[in-house]
Symmetry: C2
Subunit: 106 residues, 2 copies
DNA sequence: CTGCATCCCATTTGATACTG
DNA sequence: CAGTATCAAATGGGATGCAG
């Protein structure tokens, strides 16, 4: 590992950590990694999350550039969420995390 | 991805997420990934963390089986921290996270 | 040097009700 | 259906002082 000014280069981890720090972020990304999904279905998959929290997490992921929100002008309203290009680059890591968890956290 | 009872298998991620959720956990692991280190030096590397917080995080990582605490009966007291076998299995993921951050979070 | 105890604040998360 | 608003609760994190 490289050092700089005698300190470890922790910076690259900093932003990344904030992304996966939330209680639901990785779950949301993990679901979106496999499919585009509507708000309502996402809410059902994430048993336990409240609507307000889900909305908040989705907004943050959107602002961080990880996901894309597609609004259809229909009645009833329909909104779909999908990974962005950036989000897709993160999928291999999600798979590794999942694999590690299955292997080591029995 | 496999489903079970109509829900995604999020469980493997659950415990893992709690480990990396803390504000300092990944940093501590990242430093320990490269060397065994004393409490004091770790405290200096992690600029900004308070002693009580560092102690707390180290205890949690120890309880989770990620790190090992080695106490030397000396005066002045000396305590060294190192990754456990389990902790070392997590190093590749830490490297991937770091690499991803450097690539995508400029 | 290592690290515990106490108090305190900020942020995060949750419960509930309501709306276009 | 897909949210927003409001309030309450839990948690995380920090400041400070003390101790073996």
């Amino acid at each position: 590992m490289k050092k700089e000014n005698g300190k470890y280069l922790l910076c690259p981890m900093a932003k990344l950590q904030k992304i996966i720090a939330g209680k639901w972020k990785v779950y949301i990304l993990w679901i979106l990694a496999h499919q585009t999904i509507r708000y309502g279905e996402l809410h059902r998959e994430l048993a336990g999350i409240t609507q307000s929290m889900l909305t908040k997490q989705l907004r943050e992921l959107e602002n961080d550039g990880f996901i894309i929100r597609h609004i259809y002008n229909e009645v009833p309203p329909r909104v779909e969420y999908a990974l962005s290009d950036l989000g897709r680059t993160f999928v291999p890591i999600l798979k590794d995390l999942n694999q590690w968890g299955q292997t080591h956290l029995k």
